[in-house]
Amino acid sequence: MNSSLIMLEISVIGLGLVLMLADLFVPAERRRFIGYAAIVALGVLLVTSLSGNGSCGQFDTAFGGMFVNDALSLFFKQLFIVAAILVLFMAAEFSDKLAEGSVAEYYSLILFALAGMLFAASSNDFTMLFVSIELITITFYVLVSFQRGKIQSLEAGVKYLILGALSSAFMVFGIALIWGTTGELNFTRLAAVAPQFADSQIFLLGVLLVLVGLGFKIAAFPFQIWAPDVYQGAPTPTTAFLAIGSKAAGFVLLLRVLFTAVPGVTAHWANLLIVISAITILYGNLCAIPQRNLKRLLGYSSIAHAGYLLLGVAALSASGQSALMYYLAGYVFTVMAAFFVITLVMRHLATEDISGLAGLNQRSPLLAATLTLAMVSLAGIPPLAGFFGKFLLLKAVIEAAQTSHNHGYYCLAFTALAGVIISLYYYFGVIRAIYWSKSPEDVSPIVLSSPAKFSIGACLAGMLWIGVFPNTVLNLTNLAAAALGK
């Protein structure tokens, strides 16, 4: 038992509480700086975790094996902290659209959600899984509906609430069934006994119901239906965090469940995963084609990306998992960049229609270039992060096809290819709106604050770095994938 392992999580929660309290003492016009303070604090945590001094760098288990720190959790924790920092930057830009006096709450809720994600990264037990997921989800209910004055925000919140609760109910029931048949909640111990129950329908039903809950988090088919509405209605920083943090948390749990808890069962589900992945890719991309609302478009695109990420799961191999994580790392910067631009451009517009981007090239070349690069990266084109990620995912899938002789994998690879092509269509639609649509009436320049410039620069640098110099991140993900296989 080594409770010091959760120091990082405790620090984050403490930071969240401090922010809430700070709200009482900081004058209203200074509230923006609460956010910057939080960013600095998170930055310190990130640096300590990167340098290997933080609690998450000690590889051990705690709480009777419920909580585990390993290379996998380390990778995801760093990812979550980076995402949270970027979201906080975004929130600081967005703060004038939030209700007066609630900005600090918004920051602290982000930190609580982050804490949930950090726990998720380390959970090695169904109890832990449930609690961390709920911590994330419940926080997100609030984050999504945070613009109480906006009906769409509330509507999105309620939809997320009902469907989220529904998926939780399925998941809890699934956990109950698993525990009922095997008597184990701990992943590691479950892995030891699971083979005896491989033919038990109840056990399999339980595992499937857990997957339903996780599938909801990552917005995979057939549980993707909520994503567009919620992405559209939520405040933009929330959407960004939802697209990354929540999705990544779902994936880390999915990896743990499938490859640590029930690897024997997973091995038989290659076709299931292939089909889910393929349909998710196609659904997200096809629905996005006629879409004009930018945030909703990214909602659909996020479904498609869940599908791409599932390629790494479906490959059932360490290289697949490594590719998945690599892709997520690139995805963080890319999506953040895209939402950052949307936040800045759309904050004074009534609509979120793509046509609002017209003339962006004149209004702010930096934002125009950033959004273009983000779209190019999402589409998977060199030299940006999306390309190398997709490259690794495709490689993993083809490798799986060659080692398992399952031709479904080839079909999956070609489906992914079709998806990429379709996605090019709408991503280039966005680029076209920026550069060669009719000039708008409003051509006033967009003024950027220096933190905004800094964070956009960070996103761009991240996209390029991960796309061109893959070595560092790839080593991390390879280690993480190796930790999963143990």
């Binding site: 990429v420 092509i421 680029i431």
Partner: protein, 527 residues
Amino acid sequence: MSILTYIAGWPLLAALLLVLVPRNYRVIIRAIAVLATLISAVLAVKMFAQFVPGANGFQFEQQIPWVESLGISYHVGVDGLNVGLILMGAIVAFAAALCSWEIQTREKEFYILLLVMTGGILGAFASLDVFFFYFLHELALVPTFIMIGVWGRGEKKNYATFQITLYLSIGALIALIGLIALYLKSGANTFDIPKIIEHAKANPLSVNAQNFIFPLLLFGFGILVSLWPFHSWAPLGYGVAPSPTAMLHAGVLKKFGLYGLIRIALPLLPQAAQSWAHVIAWLCVGNILYVGWVAMRQKDLNLLIGNSSVAHMGFIFLGIASLNLIGVTGAILIMVAHGFLAALTFALSGYIYKQTGTLQISELGGLCRKLPFIGTALLMAAMAGCGLPGFANFFGEATVFFGAWTTFPAVTVIALWGALVIGGIYMTRAIRNILHGPLPEKWASLADATNAWRKLPYALLLASLLLFGFVPKLLTEKINPDARKIVALATVENKTGVVIATRSSGRESAPNLLAENQRRLASVATK
């Protein structure tokens, strides 16, 4: 640092530099772009001159490990296969930068994209690592789409932009799947082409695996090169593209797929190449004959040039399909020659468009009177396009015919018809309608290219065409030794002993093959 790194690196560096230059400094932006491409071109000429034909292995090599866990390294080097292509690419890029004066809006972005495109494609040709080979090509490809979208012309711009974007991306991705499958199947755990080839000599890929991978590469690369029936993007895209983009794409970028087939597919997938050769050969008929007919019907100069450029790709494919030394050498020769030619024609049509605002052939006429320089250059380009001796294309095409004759006589005859007759028909018709005949009143005020800078790109490209047309040996003696190696690898007998390409040299083995040839000829004669 290898000179190749500089050749590809200068444009990329200049692109970064341009990001920092304020957009109002138009002259400086243009000067930087022209200078960067000029340095590239000069270095490429130097490299070409220093290249030692037939030396063992690669020259000007440089290797930096990049991603050790996957075996990816930055590895550049030249041998006979790519030395000409890099030279051609650098010269065309310089010409394209010079021709970019026709771009008047958003110059900064345009030149950045142009330089990225240049650096990317030169790097791709120099690259000896499958990953970088693909990566750099994609890097060069994407600016094309944006350039066509932003600076393109005509009402069909949007449609054409999306068409070319999606179509080429499909091709690139199919090829990517093929390349990844090849990497995995080879078992060498490296993306380094020489190492994979070395490894494959000892452990050849199974015929099944080859037969799976080869079509992926063939059609993936084929789409990029507008292999029939995947060609319809090309005329459409070039029809709307701004001329510097069309020059670089049609001239240089398009050769990537062909180069990939020769560099990667032939030596690593010999048996599949042998069994697919006849498919390629017959698809060439589509390129040469069918697209030639399509070109005859075009009413827009750029569409005509675009179609004719597609038709030329057929000859290159035919050379590759022949799988012998003569054919493959000829294919590379055409790749270089067509690069200059396509760039020249698109540059000229761009000039005419800039002057007249239209490329509808029926609107034009008699331009030779007002535009003697441009008209003469266009005439020469058209003649080079229908394979006139004196221009580099002729030797390429003739060599391909000689190479293909021994393996695919019937296709060769069709290709001859396409080259000599159909090419002649549409080219002379175009000349008749654009340059000859009376000059319509409205074009009385057209201005010819008089300034030396304006003339330079055309003159440079024409001079290159003529130089390699008169002294093809400059290229062939470089290509030959390395093409011989590739062909030797590509014609390895497989276990069942079925070999399609039997002959790499004519004179020595002529008598032995007489009987066989006569049988073939008899069958052609009866057809």
